[in-house]
Symmetry: C2
Subunit: 410 residues, 2 copies
């Protein structure tokens, strides 16, 4: 089953908004076995929208459109779809009631432009939007499904998850799909492929399909059957796990932070960070997970030498001699941070994010990461590249990877 995505909005074309919707939809569809073959971002323009539909509908089994459903005059999608599919706009009472209640509780008038949000074409299935004034719409034309969704990411995601994906899963072409994903770390894609070559040949011979999904520090492997062969998939996944215990770290799509959070929650342990070069980003990665307050206490960001001394008790002699970007400093940061934050584990980072501040001995991109835990402290040196933001990001993902390895082995 093939899909095309159309995102509508001038703001996408002038680079004011990054189109994150397409990637989210592409990922969600690929999870249920639908392949996205094209993404088109087009202007809020009647002719452009119609021309794009003319091109996409014959090529795809499903076309997902986002954007252009707001109440202002720029937003043309509903009008155009109504004309394109030859419908008539009628009031949907459920949507109307929801929107009236919405404005009433906020003591704001339900202006004429907003009242129009309750109008829907009479030849579509209305997908009720709990999070906004614009409903989703589901059309069918000559064997192609055309779905129109709002462009606001959380409204779109809720409608995809609650309405679109469940309906698509019922489709006979997709009904047999069964897949499992495992995550590996510490090995690159091409080396992993070489390592599990025989296993891969076997699963392919067995009619299963395998996808490699690499991202910084992680390679995911997704194994799928399109004919409902749960047993075959399960057996192959269990075999794979025994084949690569040193690289395997999780099933499903959980991030490092999520997996770490689950382990700490289960073990009733706590965590904190003592950061220099990552300056709060590591703390933020941990706290992105809802419920993190159960295991995350807090952090000390000591960016200046003075605060490293004052807040983390790093001796000034150590800073003068070894410098802040050193094994000794980062280990002390982790140990003293553990103490001061009253946590079971403390991650510390210290490095030269760039673009300036490098030396021949410690060039830009040099980063030390240490983890102090119940069984002592360990540090590792990394050499990243020239770009400040990338160095900060890589420091965080590697710090979380090291912690996860440690937690798995304790």
């Amino acid at each position: 089953m093939q899909a095309e995505i159309i995102t509508i909005g001038d703001e996408l074309l002038i680079g004011q908004t990054i189109d994150t919707n397409s990637a989210w939809i592409g990922h969600a569809l690929s999870q249920i076995g639908v392949r996205v073959t094209k993404i088109s971002s087009i202007q809020d323009d009647e002719l452009e929208i119609k021309q794009q539909l003319d091109v996409s509908i014959p090529k795809a089994d499903i076309v997902i459109i986002t954007g252009g459903l707001g109440p202002t005059k720029d937003d043309l999608t509903k009008k155009v779809l109504n004309e394109y599919f030859g419908g008539n706009l009628i009031v949907n009472e459920k949507v109307q009631a929801r929107n009236e209640a919405y404005f009433a509780t906020r003591n704001r008038p339900n202006l004429a432009v907003n009242q129009q949000q309750a109008l829907v074409p009479d030849n579509c299935t209305v997908l009720f939007n709990h999070n906004g004034t614009a409903p989703g719409m589901w059309f069918e034309k000559s064997n192609t499904i055309v779905v129109s969704l709002p462009g606001v990411p959380y409204e779109m995601k809720a409608l995809m998850s609650d309405e679109v994906l469940p309906r698509l899963r019922e489709n006979k072409q997709l009904k047999g799909l069964y897949c499992r994903t495992i995550q590996t770390t510490g090995i690159g894609e091409s080396f992993l492929a070489e390592y599990i070559k025989d296993w891969e040949n076997d699963v392919r011979k067995n009619g299963l399909s395998l996808a490699y999904l690499p991202s910084p520090g992680i390679v995911k492997l997704r194994l799928s059957s399109y004919s409902g062969e749960h047993e075959k998939v399960n057996r192959a996944i269990e075999n794979l796990k025994t084949l690569i215990p040193q690289y395997f770290f999780a099933e499903n799509d959980d991030s490092f932070s999520q997996i770490i959070g689950k382990i700490l929650m289960q073990r009733k342990q706590t965590i904190g960070t003592a950061e220099s070069c990552t300056s709060g980003k590591l703390a933020n990665e941990i706290v992105k997970i809802p419920g993190a307050s159960a295991y995350y206490n807090g952090s000390i960001v000591a960016y200046s030498y003075a605060l490293k001394e004052k807040l983390l008790d790093i001796p000034s002699a150590l800073l003068d001699k070894q410098g802040a970007v050193s094994k000794e400093c980062v280990e002390r940061m982790a140990m003293n941070g553990k103490e001061k934050l009253s946590v079971d584990y403390c991650i510390a980072t210290s490095g030269i994010a760039g673009p300036t501040g490098g030396t021949s001995e410690k060039p830009v991109g040099t980063v030390w990461i240490a983890i102090a835990g119940p069984n002592g402290v360990e540090a590792q040196r990394f050499q990243f590249g020239q770009l400040r933001e990338v160095n900060i990001e890589l420091s965080c993902s590697n710090a979380l990877r090291l912690l996860l390895n440690k937690l798995k082995n304790e």
Copy 2:
């Protein structure tokens, strides 16, 4: 002058990579007066690439392609472009020398697949890539410019900035472009439009064009002349600034963090943060700016009640009575943080990011922000929405906005 962007890569379609290149290119082109009319993301597939070129070339003055220039067999763009424009692949010696030196200094062999990176079509202008093995290529066909760039964002950006944009600026259609952008805050787009209506009518009558560029908390106004009328643009911008002194906060595209950094650097003042709900993200926003170490000392992230007491001296009686999400608590956090971090300004945040933890009095999305400075402390309550990550982001952007206002008035 109209442009289309084509991004090539299966990873974009399955949502593994978010296409940030298009937005960057769209923004850069719009700055020099080129309008992007369409973005197409397509598969690594010969036929798809050729079909897309057939569609895009007749419609656009310039087509910018990114991706598909790597050394592996997935990467087809160069081969396809060479065929499409009827060229022959020849070795470019400058590229070859660069790539050989690159692998030699890393003690890695220059494999056959990598040697192919130095081959270029003989009918294009080669755009030398200092940051990677794949050169950019500039073709011209029936009045359309077709540029192919690597998909790695920092390689693409450097080639756009150093090679593509300067060449386009020389184009006669664009040579007259002169524009200035100012940033406003504290007023919504539609209210601003109403407020400056007469001024807007005047500049339009004068043949200048005006664009509103809204983003969370900020509305940018870009005023352009396409016929080199610097004087007219400058005069109108100065008039506008006197018209809206309470909303105007910066020229150009600087972020809050950048402007704050410049002011602090100039005044030789320092900053730190005492964070609860934003948990390090605010510190990270400040430190994103290269050179932040000149004015940023560090942060205390006190997520738990216990650490609020231990690290920020918040009295437990206050936490018990008013709670952490209160004016009293956030003001103390800011004042004590200022002291402990030895800074001139300290921003403090405390709120309920969600999805749980809300009460009828303090629902999810309630956030207090305080700033302590040389002239005392001030706090403000915000009510955001239901989504954890959005609440954390809005807390940060509003905190920086409040600080900037404070700095401007001191």
